[in-house]
Assembly symmetry: C2
């Protein structure tokens, strides 16, 4: 989940003092301001103007850094996915290492569903394509395969992982939980039951 | 899976004799010509010119009927999906009714996978969006839910159906079988094993 290379703000010799001051501002500070606004107001209500004002920079700086509102939202999404992946790889158990594989698998389902739901608006605002979200999907697929293997599940493990991941698909979850109002706990109970069938089936 | 309403060829009073002759040609005949060419040459090699020549009409007639090459491919796809659905609803067993539910489920997996693979190029050429392919997906989801219920599977049947359908996703299959060269039989064996886990798990 590499972030897009930040755009160069100004070529050598082209910089005027106010631009240089802007250029020195931290990309993370801009993303932090955007994140805070998204948390407060929701993705839909966050304009480039508001983010720029919150970060204390000009709107032009924000556009030069991220290209567009979509680009800014994509960068926020990348940062959040990277954080979640870090939690899976080296965060505390049971999502992170140290818990039994079965427990990690259930923790993964809960955490991934919550992350998908939290990201739904951001994904839309980032204009994420199937290709774009594939990187995030590939990480989850690899993680589930590893856990199934650790659990001694035999058979076509990649296919079983594909099946396990389907009910956690962001579009499926968003439809069920946010549009149809199905309680998330019910979806997760169904998912735990699916895990049981797949894992205990051999 | 309703086909898009055919475009009116010519308004009253605007028709000249050669146009009227074109207008009288059967939509099915145009689609039949397109189908034959697709079967012979593959989707990528089929131009509107070639379809028009095969059907013995002018290119303009084809464009007026289907709007664009995408529109023609979408109409072919719709016709093929409708035929497949008819086979499921009222064709011979084990895909159609009359066989035990478990046998129908396995026949469904084989038939759906073959259909998805056969449709892959057509779907791309039709510019099918997620929304567009949703109608086809909804039919398969309903069918799998009904078979699972008939088999006495308890639990969250829609979620289990979602999991079962995931490995049959056209994009997943196309990637595995056509790009990575995994034998279809191996994918289907893995799918049958997944069915066993889900069905026999309670």
């Amino acid at each position: 989940m590499s972030e897009p290379t930040p755009l160069r703000l100004l070529g050598p010799g082209a910089s005027a003092p106010p631009e240089r001051a802007d250029a020195a501002r931290n990309r993370d500070a801009l993303l932090g301001a955007a994140r805070a606004l998204v948390d407060e107001r929701g993705v839909g209500a966050v304009t480039m103007e508001a983010v720029a004002a919150r970060a204390g920079v000009g709107k032009g700086t924000l556009f030069r850094r991220f290209g567009s509102r979509e680009g800014l939202m994509a960068a926020l999404l990348d940062r959040s996915e990277a954080q979640w992946q870090a939690d899976v790889i080296s965060g505390p158990p049971p999502l992170g290492p140290g818990a039994p594989a079965r427990e990690r698998l259930h923790a993964f389902g809960r955490s991934r569903a919550a992350t998908d739901l939290a990201h739904a608006d951001l994904v839309r605002a980032a204009g994420a394509t199937r290709q774009r979200s594939y990187a995030a999907y590939a990480f989850t697929a690899m993680h589930v395969r590893l856990l199934l293997t650790e659990l001694g599940v035999t058979g076509d493990v990649p296919l079983l992982a594909t099946a396990l991941l389907a009910p956690l698909d962001p579009f499926v979850l968003d439809q069920q939980v946010r549009r149809e109002g199905l309680p998330l706990e019910r979806v997760l109970a169904g998912w735990d039951d699916l895990v049981r069938r797949v894992v205990e089936g051999g």
